[in-house]
C-alpha cells in the first residue's frame, strides 16, 4: 500500500527535476528583473510589471496555450530555436520546466523586489564613495542584504513550479517518463478505476515535499537574518 510504483517514482523525480531546473534558471533572471523594477525608472515599466504578473491572473490553460503557440514546433520562437539551436520545448520535460518557470516567475520576483527596495540606498552610496562600481555595489551590498527575500522568492517559486498543472499539461501534455509530473500523474490516476490508492500515495508525497520546502526555507531565512544582524 505504501510502496511506490516505478511510474510514481518517475513522476516524483521528474517533478523535482522540473521544479529545480525552473527555479535555478528563473532565479538569476528574477533577481535582474526585480532590481530593474526596484531601482530603475524606464519607459514601459508598468507594462513590464503587468506582463510579469500576467501568468498569476490568466487561466493557466491560456498561458499553456500561448506557450504552445510561441514555443511549439511551429511556433514563432519554437521553430527558430529548433532549426538554429536544436532546442525543442514541445512535449519535452524542458517544456514543462519552461511552463513552470513562467508560472512561478511572478511569485519569485515579488519578494526579491520588496527586499531590494528595503535595502538602505545610503549604504549603496557609501559603497560607491569607497570605490565600488555600481555592479560591485550590487554584488557586495545590495544582494547580500536582500538575501532573505531571494530565498523566500526561490521557495515560493519552487513550490509553485512543483504544483503547476494547467499550463504544463496544456503545453507539453501528460507523457509518462517525459512530461508526467506528480500533478498530472494524480490527475491520470483519479481518472482510472482503482487508481485511488496510488493517487493518495502521490498526494502524501506532495504534502511531504511542500512541508520540507517550507521548513527548509524558514531555516535558511533565519540563518540569513542572523548573519545580517551579526549574531
Amino acid at each position: 500500500m505504501l510502496e511506490l510504483s516505478p511510474t510514481e517514482w518517475t513522476a516524483i523525480l521528474l517533478s523535482l527535476r522540473v521544479a529545480t531546473v525552473a527555479t535555478l534558471v528563473a532565479t538569476p533572471l528574477g533577481i535582474a528583473v526585480a532590481w530593474l523594477l526596484a531601482r530603475r525608472e524606464f519607459w514601459g515599466k508598468s507594462i513590464a510589471d503587468a506582463l510579469i504578473h500576467l501568468p498569476l491572473v490568466l487561466p493557466p490553460v491560456v498561458t499553456g496555450y500561448l506557450l504552445l503557440l510561441t514555443f511549439g514546433r511551429r511556433g514563432l520562437v519554437g521553430a527558430w530555436l529548433a532549426d538554429h539551436l536544436g532546442i525543442v520545448f514541445a512535449f519535452r520535460w524542458t517544456g514543462a520546466a519552461l511552463a513552470c518557470g513562467i508560472m512561478a516567475f511572478p511569485l519569485l520576483v515579488r519578494p526579491i523586489r520588496l527586499s531590494i527596495e528595503a535595502v538602505d540606498r545610503r549604504l549603496e552610496q557609501a559603497a560607491g564613495t569607497l570605490g565600488a562600481a555600481p555592479w560591485r555595489v550590487f554584488l557586495t551590498v545590495t544582494l547580500p542584504l536582500a538575501l532573505p527575500g531571494v530565498l523566500t522568492g526561490m521557495v515560493l517559486g519552487f513550490a509553485k513550479a512543483i504544483g503547476e498543472f494547467g499550463a504544463t499539461i496544456t503545453f507539453v501534455s501528460n507523457i509518462p517518463g517525459e512530461t508526467q509530473t506528480i500533478s498530472s500523474a494524480i490527475y491520470s490516476l483519479i481518472q482510472t478505476p482503482d487508481g485511488d490508492t496510488a493517487a493518495l500515495r502521490l498526494v502524501v508525497v506532495s504534502v511531504l515535499i511542500a512541508m520540507a520546502a517550507l521548513i527548509g526555507s524558514e531555516w535558511f531565512a533565519r540563518r540569513a537574518l542572523q548573519r545580517l544582524h551579526g549574531n
Binding site: 545610503r122 549604504l123 552610496q125 564613495t129 569607497l130 570605490g131 565600488a132 562600481a133 551590498v141 551579526g230
Partner: protein, 226 residues
C-alpha cells in the same frame, strides 16, 4: 587644492557656492539647512551640479560645460557620513578592507595597523557594527574611509549624532588625523568650537551662498548673522 564653483536647484532651495581652498582642513560652517551636505555630496559625486566646476589638484571632476562628470566610485574621495553607514552584514575587519578590495589596492598590513592604532579600534575587528557603541562606530567609519586611500576626505558632521562626552572622545582622533594622516579634509559642522579646533580654513555657508571665507576670525561675524 580644492576648487568649487557650482549652482544647484533643489526644489525651492538653491545653492550657488564658489570657493577655493588649499587648507589641510577646510571647514564648511553653517546652520542646518544652509546646504552644507548638498555641497559636499556634489564634491563626492553623489549629487550632480546644474552648472559649474569642481576640481581637485587641477583634475576636473565636474564641468557642466564640458559635460564632464566623474562617477562617484572613480573620484577617490573618502566620505565619513554622520550616520556612519557601516555595512551591517560585514564585521569591522571586512568593513575596513572594503575600500582596498574595491579599489584593487595591494594588501597593506602596515597601513591597516597604523590606522587601527591611530583610531584605537584594534580590539573591535571581529565585531559586527550592530555591536559597537556610537563613538566606536564613528571611529570605524573614519578608518574605513582612510583605508580606501582617498586624496580628499569629506566629513559630514561626524560628531553630530554623538552626545557631549562622545564628542570629546572623538575630537582628539580628528586632530591626530589632521596632523598625521596627510590627507586634506573638508569638515562640515554647525558647531563653532569644532571649527576652531579643527579647521585651518573656514567657508561660511548661509542659505546656499558663501558669505565669508578665511580663518577662525570669520566665525564671530557668521554667528552674529545666524
Amino acid at each position: 587644492m580644492l576648487h568649487v564653483d557650482v549652482s544647484k536647484r533643489l526644489g525651492e532651495f538653491s545653492i550657488e557656492a564658489s570657493f577655493e581652498s588649499e587648507g589641510r582642513v577646510t571647514g564648511l560652517f553653517g546652520a542646518s539647512g544652509a546646504g552644507k551636505t548638498s555641497l559636499i555630496n556634489m564634491i563626492a559625486g553623489l549629487l550632480r551640479p546644474d552648472r559649474g566646476v569642481i576640481a581637485i589638484d587641477g583634475e576636473t571632476l565636474d564641468d557642466t560645460l564640458a559635460q564632464t562628470h566623474v562617477p562617484v566610485h572613480r573620484r577617490r574621495i573618502g566620505y565619513v557620513f554622520q550616520d556612519t553607514r557601516l555595512f551591517p552584514h560585514l564585521d569591522v575587519r571586512q568593513n575596513l578592507d572594503y575600500g582596498r578590495r574595491m579599489n584593487r589596492l595591494a594588501d597593506d598590513p602596515a597601513a591597516r595597523t597604523r590606522v587601527t592604532d591611530l583610531l584605537d579600534i584594534g580590539g573591535l575587528l571581529d565585531r559586527r557594527p550592530g555591536k559597537l557603541s556610537g563613538g566606536e562606530r564613528q571611529r570605524v567609519a573614519l578608518a574605513r574611509a582612510l583605508l580606501s586611500q582617498p586624496r580628499l576626505l569629506l566629513l559630514d558632521e561626524p560628531l553630530g549624532s554623538l552626545d557631549e562626552e562622545r564628542k570629546e572622545e572623538i575630537l582628539p582622533y580628528l586632530v591626530r588625523l589632521r596632523d598625521e594622516a596627510g590627507i586634506p579634509m573638508v569638515y562640515v559642522s554647525h558647531d563653532p568650537s569644532e571649527m576652531r579646533q579643527l579647521a585651518t580654513h573656514i567657508v561660511v555657508l548661509q542659505r546656499g551662498r558663501v558669505t565669508a571665507f578665511g580663518g577662525a576670525e570669520v566665525l564671530p561675524a557668521a554667528l552674529a548673522r545666524v
